[in-house]
Symmetry: C2
């Protein structure tokens, strides 16, 4: 799509109720968008579809945590220190900009985000880069790390800092001890969450693609890294374009279409769990209307990997000529749970029972204090402690006649017979394991924007240009528009009753009797309604003939959005026909 | 329910995955709760049920706005000034408390929130009230207004303040000009939103009932106050206990069961639109499990009404012996739209077309500056403006020979012939109307907590005490538990396939094969699963006999939660039977 179409999309989005910049009456506020009636419905359908695929069908649990979390959570997670962007302030106009973006926009350098701050300062000077707002030179301006979390205070006073969560994940991690109980302490288990997340962007841009408040759909899968493997066979034959890090630096590198099984076998995707979710995600993006000819999986290069991730892939789509990130798939190892284990009061492990109990040798000591006391005086207690540590660390040291231990830089030698050293056999039934985390994290707003962009079409109908959204029927805001040909002679009442009946059958229905029928079709085309049903004089004639036993059933016209083809269907079968069409159990040709 | 049962409920809520205090591993954070798998599902079902009743069935539009909004919005809405609680800080221990709560807890005074701050300071001194934490005297301590909005900064620097929304409503009001376009500028139209809202409570308490982050489901209905009336007949016969303000101050006042039609006819509820939504809300609370014997509508007394509301009723439920607010129903008049119209750059009105154009007389002036200039010098322009204002305000003043106008306390007399006064006939096709707002605003967390409390039951089954949640099947987190009698002889496979099949039919299903069958029933009873299905040896026998033409269909046991009654059902009918039970189209006796 050209950038002209992007402008058209943003205009259509506002005019038809998909999304608009928030608080336009107050001049708007950068990076915040409000979803109108069509957009809110589309967003909900996309979320429900994600829930169905990533939570329900995978047997994962869904939780719902607060968006505000206290400071200690983000001390542990690393966000207080590491969640920064490079901020440069213009000395002339005072406007703030992302220094890495200026470098990328005005030079051939890519991924400037991963370049250290001091080097970016040098690049700004070297290329004589200027303020994008007023044109003043930025050389010599200090570049600062700006933390992207929104900060607030919890309760009166300023003592308790809280932050709007930058991802939904931490709300899951911090409740791991309780969540593991719900999973009866059996690995693997997955926990999902769909909800708002926040990034206090320095310069929001590109409509819904870089915003300050957005919706994430995240799955945190907790696995035993030594034992758990994904059911790869279910997605082994799924293919997708893969763009590994090595190809990105090659001169002729480009994404290659490969099977999930292949990328695992050839080690292109290092972690089978990541490959498994890439397969599922590919299928899912396809169902919500992302064009698979403008889609790929791109591996993070070493410089851009997040601090916690050992292998990381992005799902990307081409929008307005740029490749944008739709979601990330990270193998987070035990980073998160280890951190929260260390920073909090609880244990973030599960107990893994051995198939058979294991007998291990466990060294113990029982220092003879009646010897240590007179021998070492005030230091005797510390020496006893050091002996105990040594036994746990290096039991071999007790094989000679004496052992030496250090206390505060002084060395003490003790006869082994005075340490009470012995080795006991202990039976262990299992061990504590810190699970590893596999995380597919998908942005709902970006998926929605991409689906709209990829489904936005023009064609010609009856000699007129028509714009329509070819949204899949599973996510379209409205499944069926119901119209009377005109609101007269009883057609309006008939159509309104029909709309109510279809709604009660669980369909999403719009009733419209305003304006010419062609204009009503166009209106539904523009919001992506896949089917329209029209009550006309033939319907009424059939209804009037119902007293006559030989009369056939009432029929209405049903019209398909993309082909504009029309056919007549019996009203008594309509709800089932439309439900089958929506759920993909039938195509329009079957009707 | 006694407070013992409340403790039992909070314990069950944590153990079984309904909700738990957030960040327990970090000592917890007051006023924030995380919904576990059962609670998140229950919450979603309650939200969906609200959406169905208040949005879809009423034909209203649903939108989805940001939770962070810029400061000018809350300047206009009045929240920056008026959204305060009374804060008193203990001089000894430094703890912050709500002064009105201390007064209410330690004296017979009720609704201290509506007493002016200076009087509350006097009451604290008079009753010698003390710090609830350390017991130090609070007399003489200043009581301060503490704004309950969470504040943050949008973007770098501290120039742009933003606030976490205290209600979802403002996100709707500020987009009114665009929303009216979506409604084709036809009143009445309604806009709903379900989402997070925030109150930085001084002392959160009572579990989910007074929290800092919560979910609101709000409907803003925009009406023409002169023309639009609700379809009252659809709820006219709904009855509910009403507790008007006048009865609350009477000695023997108590809520009286009355019909919606009656409270309108007798003027007990002043606004028919409010009465209409009270009727709908009564029906809705009933369907989600709130006990109608512990439910009432209470009118706000004049002191407690919000600044914007001219008539206000609360839906209340009795929980742990206290009446708590579940939702509010306010007639907000044109307060919100007028404020945003005045504070912003756009018009918050709709144009109401007259049935027939109206001819009105419009006075105009055309002051003769060649007379005013010499006569009034520097003040001539101001005098001309004052003449124009006078003509619009009081055209009768131009009937004499001279008119007098005031400019900066000086009076100027001008001959009428020099004012160019005349009256023209103008044809107007309609006028601009600022719609009034009717607002049902319901708290989802409180509804959820009340439903859990009211549905929490104990009985005796097979000589053992059983706890269960008698949640209505429409909102229960899981509709059906599927068990094999034991996971052996093929019963496990059969039951797992059956669970998958039921899930594909759109049911919420749990599979469980762990532990004795009685224990699995109890586990589902505790989370409110209305039906359990068990695959047993009889099922397998029937399945094996399928090759035999005379064999009957496979059957399974289906058990109802509340009665613990069991019956056998054909597997081929199971999905349809369970769907009918869930949707209320059948009862267990029909099965």
């Amino acid at each position: 799509m050209s950038s002209d179409n992007s402008t058209g999309l943003v205009e259509l989005a506002k005019r038809r109720g998909f999304f608009l910049q928030t608080a336009g009456a107050y001049g708007g506020v950068s990076g915040f968008y409000t979803f109108g009636p069509e957009g809110a419905a589309l967003k909900r359908n996309i979320e429900d579809s994600w829930r169905d695929r990533f939570a329900i069908r995978e047997g994962n649990m869904e939780v719902d945590a607060p968006t505000v979390l206290p400071e200690p959570v983000f001390e542990a997670s690393g966000h207080l220190d590491g969640f920064d962007d490079m901020l440069v302030e213009c000395p002339e106009c005072g406007e703030s900009h992302r220094a890495d973006h200026i470098v990328e926009d005005r030079t051939d350098i890519e991924e400037a985000e991963s370049i250290p701050v001091t080097e970016v300062e040098e690049l700004v000077a070297e290329y004589e880069l200027v303020c994008p707002t007023c044109g003043a030179g930025l050389a010599g301006q200090a570049i600062e790390d700006f933390n992207l979390m929104f900060e607030t205070n919890i309760g009166p006073g300023s003592s308790a800092s809280g932050y709007l969560r930058p991802e939904t994940a931490q709300g899951i991690f911090i409740e791991f001890p309780q969540l593991a109980e719900y999973a009866r302490n059996q690995l693997p288990f997955g926990v999902t969450q769909i909800g708002r997340a926040y990034r206090n962007e320095i310069s929001p841009r590109k409509s819904l693609l870089r915003v300050r408040e957005f919706t994430q759909a995240e799955l945190e899968l907790f696995i035993d890294p030594e034992e758990d493997e994904p059911a790869l066979e279910s997605v082994a034959d799924v293919t997708a374009p893969f763009y590994p890090a090595s190809d990105q630096t090659a001169d002729d590198g480009e994404a290659r279409e490969m099977r999930i099984q292949t990328v695992v076998d050839e080690g292109i995707v290092g972690k089978p769990w990541i490959a498994y979710y890439l397969g599922i995600a590919k299928q899912w993006y396809d169902t919500i209307g992302v064009d698979m000819d403008r889609f790929r999986f791109r591996q993070h290069r070493s410089g851009e990997r997040a601090h916690y991730a050992t292998d990381c892939w992005d799902a990307e789509a081409e929008v307005d000529g740029d490749w944008i990130e739709l979601g990330g798939f990270a193998y987070r190892s035990d980073y998160d749970l280890s951190k929260h284990d260390a920073y909090s009061d609880e244990e973030f492990t599960v107990f893994r029972q051995y198939d058979d109990p294991v007998t291990v040798e466990q060294p113990t000591v029982d220092p003879d204090m009646s010897y240590l006391g007179p021998a070492f005086g005030d230091d005797a207690g510390a020496v006893a402690g050091a002996i105990e540590n040594l036994a746990a660390r290096n039991p071999g040291a007790f094989e000679g006649e004496n052992v030496s231990v250090a206390v505060d830089d002084d060395s003490y030698t003790v006869p082994v017979e005075k340490t009470g050293f012995s080795v006991e056999e202990v039976t262990e039934s299992g061990k504590h394991v810190t699970p590893h985390v596999v995380e597919p994290s998908l942005g709902i707003d970006r998926a929605l924007y991409t689906a709209l962009d990829h489904c936005y079409r023009d064609d010609e109908v009856d000699g007129e240009t028509r714009s329509y959204l070819a949204l899949p029927q599973t996510v379209a805001p409205t499944t069926v528009g119901v119209f009377p040909l005109m609101d007269r002679d009883g057609m309006g009442e008939y159509a309104r009753d029909l709309a109510t009946e279809l709604r009660e059958a669980g369909l999403s229905v719009t009733y419209d009797d305003s304006g010419a029928i062609g204009r009503r079709y166009r209106r539904q085309d523009e919001v992506g309604t896949p089917f329209c049903v029209t009550v006309d004089y033939a319907t009424l004639g059939e209804a009037r003939a119902d007293a006559d036993e030989a009369a056939g059933p009432d029929t209405v016209t049903i019209r398909e959005r993309d082909s504009t083809a029309q056919t007549r269907v019996a009203v008594e079968d309509l709800a089932e026909t439309l439900t089958a069409l929506r759920d993909g159990r039938a195509t329009f040709d079957d009707v």
